[in-house]
Amino acid sequence: MTRYTPVTESDREAMLEAIGVASVDELFAEIPPELRLTRPLDLPAGLGEAEVYEHMRSLAARNTSAEEVISFLGAGMYDGYIPAVIDMLLGRSEFLTPYTPYQPEISQGGLQVMFEYQTAICELTGMDVSNASVYEGPSAVAAAGYLAKLTNGRPRFLVSRGVHPHARETLRTYSVGFGMSVEEVGLRAGVTYADAWAKALGDDVAAVFLAQPNFLGAVEDIEPLAAAAREHGALVVVSADPLSLGILEPPGSQGVDVCVGEGQTLGNRLDFGGPSFGFFAAREEHLRRMPGRIAGETRDVDGRRGFVLTLQTREQHIRREKATSNICTAQALNALAGVVYLSWLGRRGLPELAELLARRAAYAREALAAIDGVRALHEQPITREFAVSLGLGDVACVQRVIARCAGDRIEPGYALGRDYPEYPDGLLVAVSERRSRADIDHLAEVLGRAVAAERLASATGGKQA
């Protein structure tokens, strides 16, 4: 018996008697003896709650979180402020502990949340329909690829290099499965290179993939790129940052077929990368090929308004090998955080926040570009994140600069060269509403010192910290 298993010795005896067996071992009689583990698992002994807490606390203390340093790390996940109502609501047993709402009569809470979430995502993206969540951003991109493949059966995907490297890689991974080739189109001046795009397009392209803003933080001019693709009959998939959509033209008005994205920035924790949620929205015509749960409004036998999971004939539990996706458990709780966050921001708050980020990002870009040797990696409009080039040799230098900044309790950003050999000394810097002007000024100062020190160290061949 453990603190979680309420079966005492005397319970056990009574129960065995009711079953009509002499021992628990008998219940496992079907397992051939040679397959039974005859030793205890090689794991440490169990601990009391207080001891586990202390263990987990001490492990947490060995991480340097954004609670302790001034962080400009972004690159797909952002240290935005999560309103306290979200913690409270997500902590409520009624949202935290049930499973997928298979029994709608006792799951109206969760179902209505999905319906509200779908509405909010449609509003944000300008798309017609949204599902109730997929795992996260990069796999949402891959899922959009599967939709495209189911739609037109063509063999090629075309991906802008502005799409998140993890999304590009995930798309490749999945594509090996469904037998697609994936080609990339490079960037020019920070955005997808339109000429190369046009050249790469063809009638065998199932779908094209763009990011808005792209990984370098630059706002893409989606419309012409989308138009070009549609001319070839390719589906247009855009992976958008939902917060940036507070200020940017929604993909739904730009000729986009499927708009997906990473939902973390909508009220979800960093959590070292997950769980968060992916959103998946599309034009109406793609509805019956969408992956995942979808909630719909209906009435009960007494005429009361209610919500149900609908269009389930798309799904694995009904359609099995003919399903439009294999997804089952998705990210309902994280999507709840998303819709609560969007409601918290509200119609006016979302653009206000998006504008604040755009202003701070612009300010920060200038502040960093003013550092000796540092320049903006591109001059495109940005919403919350931007890239600079540090004027140093390679990615190792950038990583040493980051380490220097960490000593001053600043996380200056992400070393772009880790994913883009073409930007070996790039640094990707994100602001959030938690990073004040003073924080940005402090970053400029610390980064300036670190870059200078690194330059000196490289020059002298040494590596003094």
Partner: protein
């Protein structure tokens, strides 16, 4: 539960209300046009709600009260392992050192997180009986996809092109769906009269074009397949890979290991066996454990431990290794659902080896006890077990005789349970069983609860004998009653018109 008619959040509030107040604009004011050209900007704001914090809180608290949940009552949803979610896990996952850690934080400043992942990997490896683990997949079906793609990579690396994946007809829907997504053809294998894999059928279908067999053991009938070693041999003999769908692992932790049964790849559902709360449909986490042969293809990055012995002085004991030339690549962003890892690792720390074994023993004991009680109360006369054997952590009843004799379907029985304050078991799955009812009590329920549940079913049946209309019209006590699902699918209203 609250039966008040509820408005959506979009039907509340007034223009100008707000819960959010933006921080002061502290950077120099500049025209927005200068920053982002109007052409690229949004003309109309998204029509999000406009509510104050009190309205926001009240709306969602009220909504929550229209949900049934595990902390309110018994939730024997078969195949889903609705076990108690320890609250300690929410506490430790919320520690800022875990919760506010950026996924791209340099390994030197994330050793705590990497330690959590390492220790969890090691524990899962030991539980599975397979040496290597990737924590990356986001849920069970994501793990399945990883598994089938690993299978493909494995064969491809050997210069082989195989086209078929075998799944038993009892398989969960995600198995065949995954197979298709991964570009294979599904070949169904039959079930024998004892509820296991039909060996003859398997032998007939296992050929050199078979990439993989996906199996759950215990299977979705709640039965352990005693022929598993032979099954493994048949598949391995044709060069196939054996995939273990770990959804039912709760039955065998510390008792029997998939790796020892001959499986090459195993997925875990941390949201089932390892207490990650189900969240109303996620988040989940679906780590995989694999054999040496499969290891080179694992999703990247993989976690590496440096320097052998602990405490070797270096601050960077653990690192993420991206240089994995044979890897199938990423399945998602970053390192997986770390928040789930924290919870499941805490769970393993709490229980230890003995506790985990206890979990499975009690899960199986509870299931068999509930079945015995149902038998004793005569319930099984109308709802006989699909296979009359000692079950593992769950069991399947068939409502076919009930339907015939009382005129109520399994669905009606399930709906009437709602009025008794229970979440019904899984219904109409596995597909193999007519009018199926798949019951998984889990180990965290008391005997008293099982007794009461058995009595409630008996009461519903005797009520139905008197008047089947009651069950057919159920539920009555819920916030809404039976909903028009056909109408919802026919004329889909999937978002609020604004």
């Amino acid at each position: 539960m609250s039966a008040q008619e509820v408005r959506t959040i979009f039907e509340q509030g007034r223009p100008g209300r707000r819960a959010f107040e933006a921080p002061a604009a502290d950077v120099p004011e500049r025209s927005l046009d200068e920053l982002i050209p109007p052409r690229l900007r949004r003309r109309e704001p998204a029509r999000l709600p406009e509510v104050s914090e009190p309205e926001l809180v009240r709306h969602y608290v009220r909504l929550s009260r229209r949900n049934f949940d595990l902390d309110s009552g018994f939730y024997p949803l078969g195949s889903c392992t609705m076990k108690h979610n320890p609250r300690l896990h929410e506490r430790v996952a919320a520690l800022p050192g875990h919760a506010r850690l950026h996924p791209l934080t340099d390994a030197s400043r994330a050793q705590g997180a990497l330690t959590v992942m390492w220790n969890l990997e090691r524990a899962l490896s030991e539980i599975a009986g397979l040496p290597h683990v990737s924590l990356q997949p986001s849920a069970g079906s994501h793990g399945e996809l990883a598994g089938v793609l690993l299978t493909r990579a494995f064969h491809t690396d050997r210069g082989e092109q195989r086209h078929k994946v075998l799944t038993p007809d009892t398989a969960h829907g995600t198995n065949p769906a995954t197979v298709t997504m991964a570009g294979y053809e599904v070949v169904k294998v039959g079930t024998d009269e004892r509820g296991g894999v039909d060996l003859d059928d398997l032998r007939a279908k296992a050929d050199s074009d078979v990439a993989c067999l996906m199996l759950t053991n215990p299977n979705t009938l709640g039965l352990f397949d005693p022929n598993i070693s032979e099954i493994a041999t048949i598949v391995h003999d044709v060069g196939g890979v054996l995939y273990y769908d770990g959804a039912n692992l709760n039955a065998v932790m510390g008792i029997s290991r998939p790796g020892d049964m001959g499986f090459d790849i195993v997925h875990f559902n941390l949201h089932k066996s390892f207490t990650q709360p189900h969240g109303g449909g996620g988040p989940g986490s679906g780590p995989i454990a694999v054999s040496e042969a499969i290891e080179p293809y694992l999703p990247r990055p993989v976690l590496r431990r440096h320097g052998g012995a602990e405490g070797n002085g270096s601050s960077v004991e653990f690192e993420l290794d991206h240089e994995r030339p044979k890897s199938i690549g990423r399945l998602r962003g970053f390192q997986g659902n770390y928040g789930c890892f924290v919870r499941s690792y805490a769970y393993i720390c709490s229980l230890g080896a003995a506790g985990l074994r206890d979990v499975s023993e009690i899960a199986v004991l509870n299931a068999n006890y509930l079945l015995a009680r149902l038998r004793e109360l005569g319930v099984t006369e109308l709802l006989p077990p699909a296979y009359d054997r000692i079950c593992m952590h769950e069991f399947v009843l068939s409502g076919a005789p009930m339907k015939q004799q009382l005129g109520i379907r399994t669905l009606d029985l399930a709906k009437r349970m709602l009025d008794h304050g229970y979440h019904p078991p899984t219904v109409y799955f596995p597909l193999l069983v007519d009018e199926a009812l798949l019951i998984e009590p889990t180990e965290t329920e008391t005997r008293e609860t099982l007794d009461e549940f058995a009595e409630a079913i008996a009461a519903i049946l005797s009520e139905a004998r008197e008047d089947p209309e009651i069950a057919r019209g159920a539920p009555y006590e819920t916030p809404v009653r039976r909903l028009d699902e056909a109408g919802a699918a026919k004329n889909p209203v999937l978002r609020q018109a604004l």
